[in-house]
Amino acid sequence: MARSIDFLPKETIHGRLLPWVVGVMVFLSGLALVLGLGLQALTSGWKAGLENSLTVQIIGPDQGVRDQEAEAALAVLQDWPGVENASRMPVSDIEGLLEPWLGSGSVPDALPVPVLIEVSLVPGTQIDLVPLSRQIRTVAPSARIDGHDRWLDDLRVLARLVQGVSAVILGLIVLATITVIVFATRAGLAAQRDAVAIVHLIGAEDRQIAGAFQRRFLLVGIQGALLGLAGLGALFLAAYTASEIIQTDMLPSLLPPTYVFYALLLLPLPAALITMLTARFTVKRALGDMN
């Protein structure tokens, strides 16, 4: 059984910049992953909050009408099949929702704040909103029912779009990496043509020759992946620092969820595999063209 041989010079055969190029690719694919997985996590968080719930808003002109309509609407909702619970949101909570826009404790009495009724549904039930809203409208004409459907649909579309875009970006990065490695391997092969020809003539098999190149490019992949991860680490550190400084509830966290970090830590594996296998395939193909 012929073993692999290292007949290539110790010095670089692919140029010193190649690990950096792979590093940039790993960095970019990390960003694409964060974009895809991170935003998906964010939207699914929102979705979980919105699914199985309804909001009824009562926007009557004066407080008396609003209270009266709210009582009537609550009565309808509590008897409606599929409704688990319906309750009026305390004024303090509503003011809390307005706080980011109006500042704390500064909701003027003259401002007509609508009544909000939060409705939670029995998990897994689908309620047809048309008859429900018709029924509520008869007792509370200024009621508006928000099933969050529009939001949920938009979020679903957004999540899918972002996932699709990041998948396309990832695909393009992989293609670009393969192309770069093919060129680098061909250049290395051309530079080492004499050495390759000699070992070929003294009986080396294609896979032994390809193995020597493959080992070098595996190293390139690992070096590049580490460089890319270091870049991502620096970026997240910066994002973490920034989110500590900004301290706001208005913006979602700038940091992706933990499992995205684990996914990023796995990046060296595909990076090393792609560089290694591309080099192997390129060399074997080039050798196949030789006699």
Binding site: M1, F7, I198, V199, L201, I202, G203, N291
Partner: protein
Amino acid sequence: MIRFDNVGMRYGMGEEVLKDISFTLEPGSFHFLTGKSGAGKTSLLRLMYLAVRPSRGLIQMMGTDVVTAPRKTLPELRRNVGVVFQDYRLLDHMSAFDNVALPLRIAGAPESQVTEQVEELLAWVGLKDRMQARPPILSGGEKQRVAIARAVINRPRLLLADEPTGNLDEDLSRRLVHLFLELNKVGTTVVVATHDLRLVHGIDAPRLHLADGTLAGTGDALADEDDATNDETPAPQPEAAMLEGLPG
């Protein structure tokens, strides 16, 4: 060992550099391959060490039809062929030791065996103290000896040498021929391409003589007319000159 039958060879769309070559080399034989520069000696050797395939004809080596043999069967055949290239073709970034070790390592020999055999052979060719030197700092003669050591380390069944004495002084040439003869005695088939007529006349061995890409004749009774017109070739010397220092 080797059978050529109506072999023709051309590079690309060019003219045939070898035409209708037919000969048979018996196992354990010793042959010279002679002819002017450009007569096709190197091309014929390239066919024999399987660097190229012929454009036409049949070549059988060690029982394998190399014209139709699948590519992946060739490495095994090549491991049975030792080649001393005219320009040595050593790997400059490797030490003399590693260059000579290459065929053994390619064949998968254990490292202990590699060390033992390579050290022994390098000592034998007088390079015991130069084992860790790289080719760029070796003299022409030293490089040639490394190249020869690499060609024979695997005890090939067929040894091909392309102008092996081209860069050697007379004494070294003699030792080299001695080595080839020794290998031949233990069963290696040897083909030495040369236009050094001192070498040819010093040894009683049959010749394959190439002229304009065709085999002008085989056997040792060939006239030297063609060689006499070769300005690269010194006048034939008495056989005794070459045999000096050889055993027996």
